[in-house]
Symmetry: none
Protein backbone atom coordinates (compact mmCIF):
# COMPACT_ATOMS: atom_id res chain seq x y z
CA UNK A 1 0.00 0.00 0.00
CA UNK A 2 1.21 3.46 -0.83
CA UNK A 3 0.50 4.97 2.53
CA UNK A 4 0.44 8.45 1.04
CA UNK A 5 -2.53 7.80 -1.22
CA UNK A 6 -5.68 9.45 0.01
CA UNK A 7 -7.96 7.32 2.12
CA UNK A 8 -11.68 7.75 2.17
CA UNK A 9 -12.57 8.97 5.70
CA UNK A 10 -15.84 7.02 5.59
CA UNK A 11 -14.14 3.72 4.74
CA UNK A 12 -14.94 2.22 8.13
CA UNK A 13 -14.01 -1.28 7.02
CA UNK A 14 -10.55 -0.01 6.10
CA UNK A 15 -10.43 1.76 9.46
CA UNK A 16 -11.01 -1.52 11.32
CA UNK A 17 -8.26 -3.19 9.25
CA UNK A 18 -5.79 -0.46 10.27
CA UNK A 19 -6.82 -0.50 13.92
CA UNK A 20 -6.75 -4.31 13.92
CA UNK A 21 -3.27 -4.40 12.41
CA UNK A 22 -1.79 -2.06 14.99
CA UNK A 23 -3.68 -3.68 17.87
CA UNK A 24 -2.23 -7.07 16.92
CA UNK A 25 1.28 -5.61 16.71
CA UNK A 26 0.93 -3.93 20.08
CA UNK A 27 -0.51 -7.09 21.65
CA UNK A 28 2.43 -9.13 20.32
CA UNK A 29 4.90 -6.64 21.78
CA UNK A 30 3.02 -6.86 25.06
CA UNK A 31 3.06 -10.66 25.26
CA UNK A 32 6.63 -11.06 24.05
CA UNK A 33 8.08 -8.38 26.33
CA UNK A 34 6.31 -9.74 29.40
CA UNK A 35 7.64 -13.29 28.98
CA UNK A 36 10.56 -12.88 31.37
CA UNK A 37 8.41 -12.35 34.41
CA UNK A 38 6.71 -15.76 34.25
CA UNK A 39 7.58 -19.19 35.57
CA UNK A 40 8.77 -21.54 32.88
CA UNK A 41 5.59 -23.58 33.00
CA UNK A 42 3.38 -20.66 32.03
CA UNK A 43 5.84 -18.84 29.83
CA UNK A 44 5.09 -21.13 26.88
CA UNK A 45 1.38 -20.33 27.04
CA UNK A 46 2.02 -16.59 26.98
CA UNK A 47 4.53 -17.05 24.18
CA UNK A 48 1.91 -18.87 22.11
CA UNK A 49 -0.55 -16.05 22.78
CA UNK A 50 2.07 -13.71 21.34
CA UNK A 51 2.55 -15.92 18.30
CA UNK A 52 -1.17 -15.84 17.60
CA UNK A 53 -1.32 -12.04 17.63
CA UNK A 54 1.97 -11.80 15.73
CA UNK A 55 0.70 -14.04 12.92
CA UNK A 56 -2.45 -11.93 12.85
CA UNK A 57 -0.46 -8.68 12.73
CA UNK A 58 1.32 -9.81 9.57
CA UNK A 59 -1.92 -10.87 7.87
CA UNK A 60 -3.73 -7.73 8.92
CA UNK A 61 -0.92 -5.84 7.27
CA UNK A 62 -1.64 -7.72 4.04
CA UNK A 63 -5.38 -7.56 4.42
CA UNK A 64 -5.59 -3.82 5.01
CA UNK A 65 -3.54 -3.23 1.85
CA UNK A 66 -5.59 -5.73 -0.12
CA UNK A 67 -8.79 -4.07 1.05
CA UNK A 68 -7.50 -0.56 0.28
CA UNK A 69 -6.48 -1.61 -3.24
CA UNK A 70 -9.46 -3.79 -4.23
CA UNK A 71 -12.29 -2.92 -1.82
CA UNK A 72 -12.91 -6.62 -1.71
CA UNK A 73 -12.83 -9.12 1.12
CA UNK A 74 -9.31 -10.59 1.53
CA UNK A 75 -10.61 -14.13 2.02
CA UNK A 76 -7.37 -15.77 0.96
CA UNK A 77 -5.25 -14.05 3.65
CA UNK A 78 -8.04 -14.44 6.19
CA UNK A 79 -7.89 -18.21 5.95
CA UNK A 80 -4.09 -18.34 5.78
CA UNK A 81 -4.22 -16.57 9.12
CA UNK A 82 -6.92 -18.77 10.64
CA UNK A 83 -5.38 -22.05 9.53
CA UNK A 84 -2.39 -21.13 11.71
CA UNK A 85 -3.99 -19.26 14.60
CA UNK A 86 -6.99 -21.48 15.34
CA UNK A 87 -4.88 -24.65 15.78
CA UNK A 88 -2.57 -22.59 18.01
CA UNK A 89 -5.58 -21.77 20.16
CA UNK A 90 -6.24 -25.49 20.47
CA UNK A 91 -2.64 -25.82 21.62
CA UNK A 92 -3.39 -23.20 24.27
CA UNK A 93 -6.26 -25.29 25.64
CA UNK A 94 -3.95 -28.25 25.82
CA UNK A 95 -1.16 -26.28 27.51
CA UNK A 96 -3.28 -24.98 30.33
CA UNK A 97 -4.84 -28.42 30.91
CA UNK A 98 -1.48 -30.16 30.94
CA UNK A 99 -1.19 -29.59 34.68
CA UNK A 100 -4.25 -31.82 35.04
CA UNK A 101 -2.73 -34.49 32.80
CA UNK A 102 -4.12 -33.60 29.37
CA UNK A 103 -2.82 -35.89 26.63
CA UNK A 104 -1.60 -34.74 23.24
CA UNK A 105 -4.38 -36.82 21.67
CA UNK A 106 -6.87 -34.22 22.97
CA UNK A 107 -4.83 -31.50 21.31
CA UNK A 108 -4.64 -33.33 17.97
CA UNK A 109 -8.35 -34.05 18.04
CA UNK A 110 -9.14 -30.36 18.51
CA UNK A 111 -6.62 -29.35 15.85
CA UNK A 112 -8.14 -31.85 13.42
CA UNK A 113 -11.63 -30.52 14.07
CA UNK A 114 -10.52 -26.93 13.61
CA UNK A 115 -8.82 -27.77 10.30
CA UNK A 116 -12.03 -29.43 9.05
CA UNK A 117 -14.00 -26.39 10.17
CA UNK A 118 -11.71 -24.00 8.31
CA UNK A 119 -11.14 -25.98 5.11
CA UNK A 120 -14.87 -26.53 4.58
CA UNK A 121 -15.52 -22.87 5.45
CA UNK A 122 -12.97 -21.80 2.85
CA UNK A 123 -14.60 -23.97 0.21
CA UNK A 124 -17.95 -22.36 0.93
CA UNK A 125 -16.67 -18.82 1.07
CA UNK A 126 -14.14 -18.80 -1.75
CA UNK A 127 -14.36 -21.86 -4.02
CA UNK A 128 -17.79 -23.47 -4.24
CA UNK A 129 -19.72 -20.33 -3.45
CA UNK A 130 -22.92 -21.78 -4.94
CA UNK A 131 -23.04 -24.31 -2.14
CA UNK A 132 -22.01 -21.88 0.59
CA UNK A 133 -24.85 -23.00 2.87
CA UNK A 134 -23.89 -26.66 2.58
CA UNK A 135 -20.19 -26.13 3.25
CA UNK A 136 -21.04 -23.73 6.05
CA UNK A 137 -23.20 -26.42 7.66
CA UNK A 138 -20.39 -28.99 7.57
CA UNK A 139 -18.04 -26.39 9.02
CA UNK A 140 -20.63 -25.62 11.67
CA UNK A 141 -20.81 -29.28 12.72
CA UNK A 142 -17.06 -29.35 13.33
CA UNK A 143 -17.42 -26.12 15.29
CA UNK A 144 -20.10 -27.66 17.50
CA UNK A 145 -17.98 -30.71 18.20
CA UNK A 146 -15.21 -28.37 19.40
CA UNK A 147 -17.70 -26.53 21.59
CA UNK A 148 -18.96 -29.83 22.98
CA UNK A 149 -15.46 -31.10 23.65
CA UNK A 150 -14.42 -28.13 25.76
CA UNK A 151 -17.76 -27.45 27.46
CA UNK A 152 -18.82 -31.00 28.31
CA UNK A 153 -16.25 -33.46 26.97
CA UNK A 154 -12.86 -34.59 28.19
CA UNK A 155 -11.38 -31.07 28.25
CA UNK A 156 -14.04 -30.05 30.72
CA UNK A 157 -13.26 -33.04 32.97
CA UNK A 158 -9.58 -32.15 33.01
CA UNK A 159 -10.35 -28.55 33.88
CA UNK A 160 -12.49 -29.68 36.81
CA UNK A 161 -9.69 -31.98 37.94
CA UNK A 162 -7.22 -29.07 37.82
CA UNK A 163 -9.60 -26.79 39.70
CA UNK A 164 -8.77 -23.31 41.01
CA UNK A 165 -7.43 -20.69 38.63
CA UNK A 166 -7.08 -23.16 35.78
CA UNK A 167 -10.75 -24.07 35.99
CA UNK A 168 -11.70 -20.40 36.09
CA UNK A 169 -9.56 -19.59 33.06
CA UNK A 170 -10.92 -22.62 31.21
CA UNK A 171 -14.46 -21.43 31.82
CA UNK A 172 -13.71 -17.98 30.41
CA UNK A 173 -12.06 -19.54 27.36
CA UNK A 174 -15.14 -21.75 26.89
CA UNK A 175 -17.27 -18.61 26.70
CA UNK A 176 -14.89 -17.16 24.14
CA UNK A 177 -15.36 -20.21 21.95
CA UNK A 178 -19.13 -20.26 22.36
CA UNK A 179 -19.84 -16.53 22.00
CA UNK A 180 -16.74 -14.93 20.50
CA UNK A 181 -16.24 -17.57 17.84
CA UNK A 182 -19.97 -17.54 16.97
CA UNK A 183 -19.41 -14.13 15.35
CA UNK A 184 -17.57 -15.88 12.50
CA UNK A 185 -20.47 -18.02 11.25
CA UNK A 186 -22.67 -14.90 11.55
CA UNK A 187 -20.22 -12.97 9.38
CA UNK A 188 -20.16 -15.89 6.95
CA UNK A 189 -23.94 -15.81 6.67
CA UNK A 190 -23.86 -12.07 6.06
CA UNK A 191 -21.38 -12.51 3.24
CA UNK A 192 -22.57 -15.61 1.39
CA UNK A 193 -25.77 -16.67 -0.34
CA UNK A 194 -28.02 -19.16 1.41
CA UNK A 195 -31.41 -19.82 2.98
CA UNK A 196 -30.31 -17.69 5.91
CA UNK A 197 -30.14 -14.42 3.94
CA UNK A 198 -33.66 -13.43 4.88
CA UNK A 199 -32.94 -13.89 8.59
CA UNK A 200 -29.54 -12.30 8.97
CA UNK A 201 -29.27 -8.58 8.27
CA UNK A 202 -26.92 -7.78 5.41
CA UNK A 203 -23.68 -6.36 6.65
CA UNK A 204 -20.03 -6.24 5.97
CA UNK A 205 -18.38 -9.59 6.55
CA UNK A 206 -14.98 -8.03 7.22
CA UNK A 207 -16.17 -5.73 9.99
CA UNK A 208 -17.65 -8.78 11.73
CA UNK A 209 -14.47 -10.82 11.24
CA UNK A 210 -12.21 -7.95 12.34
CA UNK A 211 -14.13 -7.32 15.54
CA UNK A 212 -14.26 -11.04 16.27
CA UNK A 213 -10.52 -11.40 15.68
CA UNK A 214 -9.71 -8.56 18.06
CA UNK A 215 -11.89 -10.08 20.77
CA UNK A 216 -10.77 -13.65 20.28
CA UNK A 217 -7.08 -13.28 19.62
CA UNK A 218 -6.24 -10.48 22.04
CA UNK A 219 -8.90 -11.30 24.64
CA UNK A 220 -8.06 -15.01 24.64
CA UNK A 221 -4.38 -14.12 25.06
CA UNK A 222 -5.12 -11.79 27.94
CA UNK A 223 -7.05 -14.51 29.78
CA UNK A 224 -3.99 -16.73 29.54
CA UNK A 225 -1.77 -13.83 30.55
CA UNK A 226 -3.80 -13.25 33.74
CA UNK A 227 -3.75 -16.95 34.54
CA UNK A 228 0.04 -16.87 34.26
CA UNK A 229 0.17 -13.76 36.47
CA UNK A 230 -1.93 -15.49 39.13
CA UNK A 231 0.19 -18.63 39.05
CA UNK A 232 3.34 -16.56 39.37
CA UNK A 233 2.08 -14.90 42.55
CA UNK A 234 1.26 -18.26 44.07
CA UNK A 235 4.79 -19.55 43.59
CA UNK A 236 6.56 -16.34 44.53
CA UNK B 1 8.20 8.62 1.19
CA UNK B 2 11.25 8.95 -0.97
CA UNK B 3 13.55 10.34 1.67
CA UNK B 4 15.93 11.73 -0.94
CA UNK B 5 13.38 14.07 -2.47
CA UNK B 6 14.00 17.69 -1.53
CA UNK B 7 12.15 18.92 1.50
CA UNK B 8 11.02 22.48 1.91
CA UNK B 9 13.10 23.96 4.76
CA UNK B 10 10.17 26.12 5.88
CA UNK B 11 7.77 23.18 6.12
CA UNK B 12 7.56 23.42 9.89
CA UNK B 13 4.58 21.12 10.10
CA UNK B 14 6.55 18.44 8.28
CA UNK B 15 9.46 19.12 10.61
CA UNK B 16 7.31 18.38 13.67
CA UNK B 17 6.09 15.17 12.05
CA UNK B 18 9.67 14.00 11.56
CA UNK B 19 10.72 15.01 15.08
CA UNK B 20 7.60 13.43 16.53
CA UNK B 21 8.19 10.16 14.72
CA UNK B 22 11.73 9.79 15.97
CA UNK B 23 10.87 10.96 19.48
CA UNK B 24 8.23 8.26 19.72
CA UNK B 25 10.63 5.60 18.46
CA UNK B 26 13.29 6.67 20.95
CA UNK B 27 10.79 6.77 23.80
CA UNK B 28 9.64 3.24 22.98
CA UNK B 29 13.21 1.99 23.01
CA UNK B 30 13.71 3.73 26.35
CA UNK B 31 10.65 2.21 28.01
CA UNK B 32 11.08 -1.27 26.56
CA UNK B 33 14.78 -1.53 27.34
CA UNK B 34 14.33 -0.36 30.92
CA UNK B 35 11.70 -2.98 31.75
CA UNK B 36 14.07 -5.43 33.39
CA UNK B 37 14.99 -3.13 36.22
CA UNK B 38 11.48 -2.94 37.63
CA UNK B 39 9.47 -5.07 40.01
CA UNK B 40 6.84 -7.16 38.32
CA UNK B 41 4.03 -5.02 39.63
CA UNK B 42 5.30 -1.85 37.96
CA UNK B 43 6.79 -3.44 34.90
CA UNK B 44 3.38 -3.78 33.25
CA UNK B 45 2.75 -0.04 33.61
CA UNK B 46 6.07 0.87 32.00
CA UNK B 47 5.43 -1.73 29.27
CA UNK B 48 2.10 -0.09 28.48
CA UNK B 49 3.83 3.31 28.32
CA UNK B 50 6.15 1.79 25.74
CA UNK B 51 3.22 0.38 23.76
CA UNK B 52 1.63 3.83 23.61
CA UNK B 53 4.76 5.45 22.16
CA UNK B 54 5.35 2.44 19.88
CA UNK B 55 1.88 2.68 18.38
CA UNK B 56 2.44 6.42 17.93
CA UNK B 57 5.82 5.85 16.28
CA UNK B 58 4.22 3.66 13.62
CA UNK B 59 1.46 6.16 12.91
CA UNK B 60 3.83 9.13 12.89
CA UNK B 61 5.78 7.25 10.28
CA UNK B 62 2.63 7.08 8.14
CA UNK B 63 1.55 10.62 8.96
CA UNK B 64 4.82 12.32 8.07
CA UNK B 65 4.76 10.60 4.67
CA UNK B 66 1.12 11.42 4.13
CA UNK B 67 1.79 15.05 5.02
CA UNK B 68 4.86 15.26 2.77
CA UNK B 69 2.94 13.83 -0.17
CA UNK B 70 -0.37 15.65 0.19
CA UNK B 71 0.28 18.69 2.44
CA UNK B 72 -2.98 17.74 4.07
CA UNK B 73 -3.90 16.72 7.59
CA UNK B 74 -3.64 12.92 8.03
CA UNK B 75 -6.86 12.74 10.03
CA UNK B 76 -7.46 9.07 9.30
CA UNK B 77 -4.15 7.90 10.80
CA UNK B 78 -4.44 10.39 13.64
CA UNK B 79 -7.61 8.76 14.83
CA UNK B 80 -6.42 5.19 14.22
CA UNK B 81 -3.61 6.11 16.59
CA UNK B 82 -5.80 7.79 19.22
CA UNK B 83 -8.43 5.04 19.27
CA UNK B 84 -5.69 2.72 20.49
CA UNK B 85 -3.49 5.00 22.61
CA UNK B 86 -6.13 6.92 24.56
CA UNK B 87 -7.81 3.74 25.89
CA UNK B 88 -4.34 2.48 26.81
CA UNK B 89 -3.84 5.64 28.87
CA UNK B 90 -7.07 4.78 30.69
CA UNK B 91 -5.53 1.37 31.35
CA UNK B 92 -2.53 3.17 32.86
CA UNK B 93 -4.75 5.03 35.32
CA UNK B 94 -6.30 1.72 36.31
CA UNK B 95 -2.93 -0.02 36.68
CA UNK B 96 -1.46 2.54 39.05
CA UNK B 97 -4.65 2.62 41.13
CA UNK B 98 -4.87 -1.16 41.35
CA UNK B 99 -2.75 -1.11 44.50
CA UNK B 100 -5.59 0.85 46.12
CA UNK B 101 -8.16 -1.68 44.92
CA UNK B 102 -9.34 -0.13 41.64
CA UNK B 103 -11.89 -2.30 39.84
CA UNK B 104 -11.89 -3.07 36.13
CA UNK B 105 -15.30 -1.39 35.92
CA UNK B 106 -13.53 1.96 36.44
CA UNK B 107 -11.19 1.13 33.58
CA UNK B 108 -14.01 0.14 31.22
CA UNK B 109 -15.97 3.27 32.10
CA UNK B 110 -13.01 5.47 31.20
CA UNK B 111 -12.33 3.47 28.03
CA UNK B 112 -15.98 3.81 27.01
CA UNK B 113 -15.89 7.56 27.56
CA UNK B 114 -12.68 7.95 25.60
CA UNK B 115 -14.11 5.96 22.69
CA UNK B 116 -17.20 8.21 22.63
CA UNK B 117 -14.94 11.27 22.74
CA UNK B 118 -12.88 10.06 19.80
CA UNK B 119 -15.64 8.65 17.58
CA UNK B 120 -17.67 11.85 17.83
CA UNK B 121 -14.50 13.91 17.28
CA UNK B 122 -13.75 11.89 14.13
CA UNK B 123 -17.25 12.45 12.81
CA UNK B 124 -16.85 16.20 13.28
CA UNK B 125 -13.38 16.41 11.85
CA UNK B 126 -13.59 13.99 8.93
CA UNK B 127 -17.13 12.90 8.09
CA UNK B 128 -19.83 15.43 8.98
CA UNK B 129 -17.61 18.48 8.72
CA UNK B 130 -20.58 20.81 8.37
CA UNK B 131 -21.59 20.03 11.94
CA UNK B 132 -18.08 20.13 13.36
CA UNK B 133 -19.11 22.38 16.25
CA UNK B 134 -21.93 20.05 17.30
CA UNK B 135 -19.85 16.86 17.19
CA UNK B 136 -17.00 18.66 18.94
CA UNK B 137 -19.38 19.65 21.72
CA UNK B 138 -20.52 16.06 22.27
CA UNK B 139 -16.91 14.97 22.25
CA UNK B 140 -16.11 17.71 24.74
CA UNK B 141 -18.80 16.47 27.14
CA UNK B 142 -17.21 13.01 27.19
CA UNK B 143 -13.85 14.67 27.76
CA UNK B 144 -15.20 16.59 30.76
CA UNK B 145 -16.68 13.45 32.28
CA UNK B 146 -13.22 11.86 32.08
CA UNK B 147 -11.67 14.93 33.70
CA UNK B 148 -14.32 14.82 36.43
CA UNK B 149 -13.81 11.11 37.02
CA UNK B 150 -10.09 11.39 37.66
CA UNK B 151 -10.05 14.78 39.40
CA UNK B 152 -13.04 14.37 41.70
CA UNK B 153 -14.69 11.00 41.08
CA UNK B 154 -13.87 7.48 42.18
CA UNK B 155 -10.37 7.50 40.63
CA UNK B 156 -9.49 10.42 42.87
CA UNK B 157 -10.76 8.58 45.97
CA UNK B 158 -8.66 5.54 45.15
CA UNK B 159 -5.57 7.71 44.65
CA UNK B 160 -6.11 9.30 48.05
CA UNK B 161 -6.52 5.86 49.59
CA UNK B 162 -3.25 4.73 48.01
CA UNK B 163 -1.45 7.88 49.17
CA UNK B 164 2.28 8.53 48.90
CA UNK B 165 3.96 8.25 45.52
CA UNK B 166 0.86 6.87 43.82
CA UNK B 167 -1.16 9.91 44.90
CA UNK B 168 1.59 12.23 43.68
CA UNK B 169 1.81 10.49 40.29
CA UNK B 170 -1.98 10.50 39.98
CA UNK B 171 -2.04 14.25 40.57
CA UNK B 172 0.50 14.88 37.84
CA UNK B 173 -1.43 12.66 35.43
CA UNK B 174 -4.59 14.61 36.30
CA UNK B 175 -2.84 17.79 35.18
CA UNK B 176 -1.82 16.11 31.96
CA UNK B 177 -5.44 15.27 31.23
CA UNK B 178 -6.70 18.74 32.14
CA UNK B 179 -4.02 20.85 30.46
CA UNK B 180 -2.16 18.58 28.04
CA UNK B 181 -5.28 17.02 26.58
CA UNK B 182 -6.97 20.43 26.29
CA UNK B 183 -4.61 21.24 23.42
CA UNK B 184 -6.55 18.78 21.24
CA UNK B 185 -9.91 20.55 21.34
CA UNK B 186 -8.02 23.81 20.70
CA UNK B 187 -6.41 22.26 17.63
CA UNK B 188 -9.81 20.97 16.55
CA UNK B 189 -11.26 24.46 16.78
CA UNK B 190 -8.37 25.86 14.73
CA UNK B 191 -8.97 23.30 12.02
CA UNK B 192 -12.76 23.11 11.72
CA UNK B 193 -15.51 25.62 10.98
CA UNK B 194 -17.69 26.78 13.85
CA UNK B 195 -18.83 29.69 15.99
CA UNK B 196 -15.42 29.60 17.67
CA UNK B 197 -13.47 30.66 14.57
CA UNK B 198 -13.58 34.33 15.54
CA UNK B 199 -12.16 33.60 19.00
CA UNK B 200 -9.43 31.11 18.27
CA UNK B 201 -6.51 32.31 16.16
CA UNK B 202 -6.17 30.40 12.90
CA UNK B 203 -3.31 27.98 13.02
CA UNK B 204 -2.16 24.64 11.85
CA UNK B 205 -4.09 21.84 13.48
CA UNK B 206 -1.25 19.34 13.01
CA UNK B 207 1.36 21.43 14.81
CA UNK B 208 -1.00 21.61 17.79
CA UNK B 209 -1.72 17.87 17.69
CA UNK B 210 1.95 16.95 17.27
CA UNK B 211 3.09 19.06 20.21
CA UNK B 212 0.25 17.73 22.34
CA UNK B 213 1.07 14.13 21.42
CA UNK B 214 4.71 14.56 22.37
CA UNK B 215 3.78 16.05 25.73
CA UNK B 216 1.04 13.60 26.53
CA UNK B 217 2.44 10.33 25.27
CA UNK B 218 6.06 10.73 26.27
CA UNK B 219 5.47 12.92 29.33
CA UNK B 220 2.70 10.68 30.63
CA UNK B 221 4.97 7.67 30.18
CA UNK B 222 7.83 9.35 32.01
CA UNK B 223 5.62 10.10 35.01
CA UNK B 224 4.80 6.41 35.23
CA UNK B 225 8.44 5.54 34.72
CA UNK B 226 9.49 7.71 37.68
CA UNK B 227 6.77 6.22 39.84
CA UNK B 228 8.12 2.77 39.03
CA UNK B 229 11.66 3.93 39.82
CA UNK B 230 10.55 5.23 43.22
CA UNK B 231 8.67 2.06 44.04
CA UNK B 232 11.65 -0.04 43.12
CA UNK B 233 13.87 1.85 45.59
CA UNK B 234 11.37 1.26 48.36
CA UNK B 235 11.43 -2.49 47.87
CA UNK B 236 15.15 -2.79 47.27
C1 LIG C 1 -18.61 -22.25 12.13
C2 LIG C 1 -18.25 -21.66 10.79
C3 LIG C 1 -17.06 -20.95 10.60
C4 LIG C 1 -16.27 -20.74 11.80
C5 LIG C 1 -15.15 -20.05 11.93
C6 LIG C 1 -14.46 -19.84 13.17
C7 LIG C 1 -15.03 -20.31 14.45
C8 LIG C 1 -13.28 -19.19 13.10
C9 LIG C 1 -12.49 -18.87 14.22
C10 LIG C 1 -11.43 -18.11 14.06
C11 LIG C 1 -10.62 -17.65 15.13
C12 LIG C 1 -10.92 -17.96 16.54
C13 LIG C 1 -9.58 -16.89 14.80
C14 LIG C 1 -8.80 -16.21 15.76
O1 LIG C 1 -7.66 -16.45 15.93
C15 LIG C 1 -16.66 -20.42 9.22
C16 LIG C 1 -15.26 -20.90 8.84
C17 LIG C 1 -16.71 -18.90 9.18
C18 LIG C 1 -17.58 -20.96 8.11
C19 LIG C 1 -19.00 -20.98 8.53
C20 LIG C 1 -19.23 -21.88 9.71
C1 LIG D 1 -12.41 17.17 23.54
C2 LIG D 1 -12.33 17.04 22.03
C3 LIG D 1 -11.38 16.23 21.43
C4 LIG D 1 -10.40 15.63 22.33
C5 LIG D 1 -9.35 14.86 22.02
C6 LIG D 1 -8.41 14.35 22.96
C7 LIG D 1 -8.50 14.71 24.40
C8 LIG D 1 -7.45 13.53 22.49
C9 LIG D 1 -6.43 12.97 23.27
C10 LIG D 1 -5.48 12.28 22.68
C11 LIG D 1 -4.35 11.76 23.37
C12 LIG D 1 -4.16 11.94 24.82
C13 LIG D 1 -3.48 11.08 22.63
C14 LIG D 1 -2.22 10.68 23.13
O1 LIG D 1 -1.92 9.54 23.21
C15 LIG D 1 -11.36 16.03 19.92
C16 LIG D 1 -11.41 14.55 19.56
C17 LIG D 1 -10.12 16.68 19.30
C18 LIG D 1 -12.59 16.62 19.25
C19 LIG D 1 -12.98 17.93 19.81
C20 LIG D 1 -13.34 17.81 21.27
Amino acid sequence: LDITSKLDPTDYVGFTFFVGCMAMMAASAFFFLSLNQFDKKWRTSVLVSGLITFIAAVHYFYMRDYWAANMESPTFFRYVDWILTVPLMCVEFYLILKVAGAKTSLMWKMIGLSVIMLVTGYFGEAVFTDQAALWGAISGVAYFVIVYEIWLGSAKKLAVAAGGDVLKAHKILCWFVLVGWAIYPLGYMMGTDGWYNSMIPAGNIDVAYNIADAINKIGFGLVIYSLAVKKQDVNA
